[in-house]
Amino acid sequence: MKNDVVISIKNLKKSFRKVEVLTELNLEVARGKMLALLGPNGAGKTTTIRILSTLLKPDSGTVVVNGFDVSKNANDVRASIGLTGQYAAVDDYLTGRENLIMMGRLYHLSRVDSKTRAQELLKEFDLLEAGDRRASTYSGGMRRRLDLALSLIATPPILFLDEPTTGLDPRSRLTIWGIIKKLLKSGTTILLTTQYLEEADKLADQVAVLDRGKIIALGTSDELKAMVGRERLEFTIEKENDFHKTLQILGNVSKDVNKDEKRISIETDGTVSDLKQFFDKMSEAGIEVETFSLHKPTLDDVFLKLTGRPVEEKQASGK
């Protein structure tokens, strides 16, 4: 094993009863880097995380975390990792602070250190005000932040984040992203699973696309984006004349055209100046744009490109 690879998965297979969830998984993450495991529900993301964090035993293959084999040295693996699951596993009856202190004690920090660390994390995660309130009164975003803080109490070198922002509002998502970026800067190695292309793109050094228990694409987020294409601007022009005029103005710019619905879609980099340039051109020509919208490429686009088929919901049970 190379010294700088801290998460290594080789030929990993896992089935539940007769359903093959991981067919042949190979993956490596270097120290201090972040890999995003991108895939739809049931692709095997959670199963992978559960095996990495010693909650499940692999059927076959080798899984090594921080130099320790998950099957043979589970306790050493546990001492090296932090896990934040999809479900915000916090104790509702305890306050945020009590949750943190308890976790600190379980990681064998002293009473004083646990308290100090709890205070630090409450501050860092913007939970100071709510710190002495019961966790049951927290909003979804606050629970996720607390959950993430709990897995960081002992500053583990490796962190597994299983869909940390699924179901969160945009503001909470941004807060979590900010925290993750800080962790990366401090040298933590992170494996994150997500259904959002944007999330993988914004945060990860490397993106692996998981489909039916196999990695079907692996590369930097730029490579992935280059494959899928950029953002698209979609707009409709009701007047027959204007519609044709627009097509003329656009000339040989790459575009999708739907004549029946009077809809055109073109590539854009999504910047204000790029959009302004386009709309200026339209108004100069006296063309009225009825409606428009910006589309970021999504997991669906990635899948369509890679597999030629759209995302199937629930490929297999991830339990």
Binding site: L55, I81, A88, D91, Y107
Partner: protein, 269 residues
């Protein structure tokens, strides 16, 4: 390349110390729940009071207990029944921890994670001590007049504690095998109701039909009740005391390794 494994080189005294420390942290957690959960706190106080007053005044006049006043007869039964019902809180807490992912989180820590079960069981003990005290207080108010000596009271407390302990482990098993939090409730009732009512808790077994009477006279809860009743008010103890202790200790010794086995295999519900 030789990998030096630091974690497993630590000596056994050290890991024993941490196992105790981790368990204490988790016991503290469960004890905190008692006082933060209003429902739990109320049930400690209300349910024994209700049972005591209902049985004393509603059924008491109609039940013949052969020379002993009904309230004196009743206290042992209600103490044990309350302890049995109280112990089912463990199944609820365990199922909840599983559902919320707390068990999974603990399992990813480098600790003896089954300490979380010990936490709930110990909390059951504390809850039952509190509710037993409340109940005996109420009993005195409605005419309870025991003749137990100090040493007999200690024996009563001892039997009640090992009974609660055994029942909490049974309850932990239910919590681990139940398919959902709701399911623990009815499984609990299916087990606790027959064991406590088909016993000598509220009425003497002599009036029951033959088959039921045989069950009621020989099942463990009756032994526990009769042992406590005898220590409290001086009814003949027979072999109830010995059998009560054998049942409780024996069951606990079998249950704990089984619970540990289940806990290792269980996943999030």
């Amino acid at each position: 390349m030789k990998i030096i494994n630091i974690q497993t080189n630590k000596n056994y005294m050290n890991s024993f110390f941490w196992a105790i420390s981790d368990t204490l942290v988790l016991i503290k957690r469960s004890l905190t729940h008692i006082f933060k959960n209003l429902d739990q706190l109320l049930s400690i106080i209300i349910s024994p009071v209700m049972f005591m007053l209902l049985f004393r005044y509603v059924f008491g006049g109609a039940i013949e207990t052969g020379g002993v006043s009904y309230v004196n007869y009743l206290v042992a039964g209600i103490l044990v029944q309350t302890a049995a019902f109280g112990a089912t809180t463990t199944s609820l807490s365990v199922a909840n921890d599983l559902k919320k992912g707390i068990v999974e989180r603990l399992k990813t820590l480098p600790i003896v994670s089954s300490g979380v079960l010990m936490g709930h069981v110990v909390a059951d003990l504390v809850r039952n001590i509190l509710s037993a005290i409340v109940m005996i207080g109420i009993a005195y108010l409605v005419g309870f007049s025991p003749n137990a000596s100090v040493s007999e009271w200690f024996q009563i407390a001892g039997i009640l504690l090992i009974f609660t302990f055994a029942f909490s482990w049974l309850s932990a098993i239910i919590g681990l095998v139940a398919k959902s939090v709701e399911a623990t409730q009815w499984i609990g009732f299916v087990i606790v109701f027959p064991l406590t009512f088909a016993s000598s808790a509220f009425v003497p077994t002599s009036g029951m039909p033959d088959g039921l009477r045989f069950f009621a006279e020989n099942q463990p809860v009756t032994h526990v009740i009769e042992a406590i009743r005898s220590l409290m008010i001086g009814t003949p103890i027979g072999n109830h005391g010995v059998l009560a202790v054998i049942w409780c200790v024996g069951f606990t010794l079998i249950a704990i390794p089984f619970v540990a086995y289940l806990f290792r295999r269980v996943h999030r519900k």
